[in-house]
């Protein structure tokens, strides 16, 4: 009986090829005597030498086989596990190698992730995510996969295994600032969400009920969306500074959190207003007609029919808003609003890539976490509604 290799997963094949090329041709880590000098490259085969590296890369060998696995539950499950463990293994290897390089080097020496690491880690993660999707895992299942990989990395972080890596050295230097920055970042987003919801939901309801309101509001909000964030922050500085000068002691100023919150609110309004209106527009007219004919009061129709039926579309607007606000809040650091953006820009201006990462990675994690949580909310809100006639799933 002959057995032939059959290609079952093109995505995995592409990822495996990318990872293989990166492993051979790109530097895995960079090692520099201090953070201002560009480092010398450390390829993967050198990083593996003298370490128990083979064990960490075992999932990588499995990953090589994944394009040819049958797309069964078992095959896809193995692909998910191989992709996730490969990524976690790369982090482990980087930490181990950094610790080895740190011995005999000065305290100022820096070991950073290099392009090879990023390509391989991304390939591993994408293979796992894609296979999880093919398995038909829902939002919660995919979150569990992501959470498992994150937990493996968090475990290494907590054990101190990664302490010799440059990004953690930067963290160690800024432990207090970092915690403050994360908190501040989240506060900026929440502070912008409160006025956004208070203004946006009534405006969305109004736009749904009165066409003229929609015609007036949407062009304005669309234009706001097209203004680059830096420009909007800049535009708000002058009037707020003038206002602050007119009202001394009011605490209003052209820089700091206030203009940041105002700008974030302006950006956040469009998805909220639009999705509130679109969600309400999507409630089938016969359903409202029947509700009215049975003697529900307008208030009961709004609370029992309109609200639950518009909720999935509204939540997908909220998801866009939150993810967008988490990203934009980083830019707000430029006008002195603080947050993780402050760490990023500090790194940019100091040409310290690891400092940039220290700011950027938590921003990405915050956005991904918010996205995942709201996805679960949307799935729950959509579940009981099923498929509405004439209304596509958000």
């Amino acid at each position: 009986m002959t057995s032939r290799l059959l290609l079952h997963n093109r995505v995995a094949l592409l990822m495996v090829l990318a990872a293989a090329v990166a492993a051979m041709a790109l530097p895995f880590l960079g090692f520099a005597p201090n953070r201002l000098l560009s480092g010398r490259p450390v390829p993967l085969w050198i990083a593996v030498q003298g370490l128990d590296g083979a064990a960490a890369l075992l999932p990588g060998l499995v990953l090589l086989a994944t394009p040819f696995l049958q797309p069964t539950r078992a095959g896809l499950g193995l692909t998910v596990a191989a992709g996730g463990l490969f990524t976690a293994g790369l982090v482990w290897l980087a930490g181990a190698q950094a610790a080895a390089l740190a011995q005999g080097a000065s305290a100022a020496a820096r070991t950073s992730f290099a392009s090879g690491f990023w390509v391989m880690a991304a390939a591993g993660l994408l293979t796992a995510i894609d296979a999880a999707r093919r398995m038909g895992l829902g939002a919660i299942g995919r979150m569990a996969v992501g959470g498992a990989v994150a937990a493996l990395v968090a475990l290494q972080l907590a054990s101190g295994h990664l302490d010799a890596l440059s990004i953690l050295k930067e963290y160690a230097n800024r432990r207090e600032i970092f915690a403050d920055a994360v908190l501040r970042h989240a506060m900026l987003v929440v502070a912008a969400l409160v006025p956004t919801l208070l203004i946006g939901i009534p405006l969305g309801v109004a736009a749904h009920r009165v066409q003229a309101v929609g015609r007036a509001v949407f062009p304005v909000l669309n234009v706001v969306q097209t203004v680059p964030s830096i420009a909007l922050f800049g535009l708000l500085m002058a009037p707020l500074a003038a206002l602050g000068a007119m009202l001394p002691g009011s605490g209003i100023s052209g820089v700091g959190p206030l203009p940041a919150v105002i700008a974030l609110t302006l950006y956040s309004l469009l998805p909220i207003v639009r999705n509130t209106a679109v969600g309400l527009d999507g409630v089938p007219a016969p359903v409202r007609e029947a509700a009215r004919g049975m003697g529900l009061t307008p208030r009961q129709i709004f609370l029992r029919v309109d609200l639950p039926l518009a909720l999935p579309v509204f939540l997908s607007g909220l998801r866009i808003t939150v993810v967008q606000a988490v990203g934009l809040a980083a830019v707000a650091a430029l006008i002195g609003a603080g947050g993780l953006g402050a760490i990023m820009f500090q790194g940019l201006f100091a040409n310290a890539l690891d400092l940039v990462l220290l700011g950027a990675v938590p921003v990405i994690l915050l956005a991904v976490a918010a996205d995942a949580l709201l996805s679960i909310g949307i799935a729950a809100a959509t579940h009981s509604i099923g498929v509405l006639p004439g209304k596509s799933a958000p």
Partner: protein, 319 residues
């Protein structure tokens, strides 16, 4: 009892309902029929004040509906529409329980009522109670729609082309069920349709509307044999007029009581067009008839189908 007294409704410069007066008696099945834009749906929607009247008076059991709160008025009536309008996020049970819930019925009573209604409309309660509307076929959805309208035991049931979107077989079985429900409950029904066959089949009386005016309000027999205008004649149609004419009377109406004959008997309430079909199928000109208790009730002759006592031929002569 529902009374319309010179009711007028304008939409802008267009007069949708033009000085319409009529009475629907307690327990009557009244069909409103007419071409699109004739005002029949507007009349229906004025009964539960989904559309307010501009002039004239609408009374229910002598009480002017303008003096009632619209929501209270509507909770006293069932309302069924063509596109059903079930709440997609609620189970069948919760949909049916809508009005009883609004009226504050005790939970146990609502639950029993839902079971009773699902059985009445031939939906297995165990299977469909917890189902969501999108899991049902169009016919099942409208069954739930009718059950929901009947839930709080309304004395008036308003139906706006409820079966028009259904396939012919489902429509016919729902028509039969509705007739049975009407006979059993004695609910007053106002039923809008544009399908004359449906009107002839269901209505105790048929009101024909055109351009916002009431053209004729009469029994199905009179609509067929004494149309008040060319429009009414056109709505009935020339095609298969004879069968329609037979369909509005029953075997019991025409049987010769004193006679008897052998053979498989027909029930007295069988429509005459079925009897004709039976005669053709059996190759006979005489059929025995039995009453509701199975006792002999005479004999139906083919010649009696062709020559009734009155209104036998198509009005307006042959075409």
């Amino acid at each position: 009892m529902i009374e319309f007294e010179r009711v007028i409704k304008h939409f802008g410069s267009w007069t949708a309902v033009d000085a319409v007066s009529f009475t629907v008696a307690e327990g009557e099945f009244r069909v409103l029929i007419g071409p699109s834009g004739s005002g029949k749906s507007t009349v229906l929607r004025m009964i539960n004040r989904l559309i307010p009247a501009d002039e004239g008076a609408i009374r229910i059991d002598g009480e002017d509906i303008a003096s009632l709160k619209p929501e209270e008025l509507r909770r006293r009536m069932g309302y069924v529409i063509q596109s059903v309008g079930l709440f997609p996020h609620w189970t069948v049970e919760r949909n049916i329980a809508t009005v009883p819930g609004l009226l504050g019925w005790p939970k146990a009573r609502i639950r029993d009522r839902v079971t009773e209604l699902l059985e009445l409309l031939n939906l297995d309660p165990r299977r469909y109670r917890g189902a969501y509307p999108h899991q049902l076929s169009g016919g099942q959805q409208q069954r739930v729609g009718v059950a929901r309208a009947l839930a709080a035991e309304p004395r008036i049931l308003l139906m706006d082309e409820p079966f028009s979107a259904l396939d012919p077989i489902t429509r016919a079985s729902l028509q039969t069920e509705l007739s049975a429900i009407h006979r059993r409950t004695g609910t007053t029904v106002v039923f809008v349709t544009h399908d004359m066959d449906e009107a002839l089949r269901l209505g105790d009386s048929i009101a024909v509307m055109d351009h916002g005016r009431l053209i004729q309000c009469a029994t199905p027999l009179d609509i067929l044999t004494r149309p008040a205008s060319p429009l009414v004649r056109d709505l009935v149609g020339r095609e298969e007029w004879g069968l329609k004419r037979l369909a509005v009377e029953t075997v019991g109406d025409r049987a010769r009581r004193q006679e008897s004959v052998t053979g498989e008997p027909l029930a007295a309430e069988t429509p005459l067009h079925r009897a004709l079909s039976e005669m053709v199928a059996r190759g006979t000109e005489r059929l025995p008839v039995v009453d509701g208790d199975g006792r002999p009730a005479g004999v139906l002759h083919l010649s009696d189908l062709v020559r009734p006592t009155s209104g036998g031929t198509v009005p307006g002569g042959t075409v």
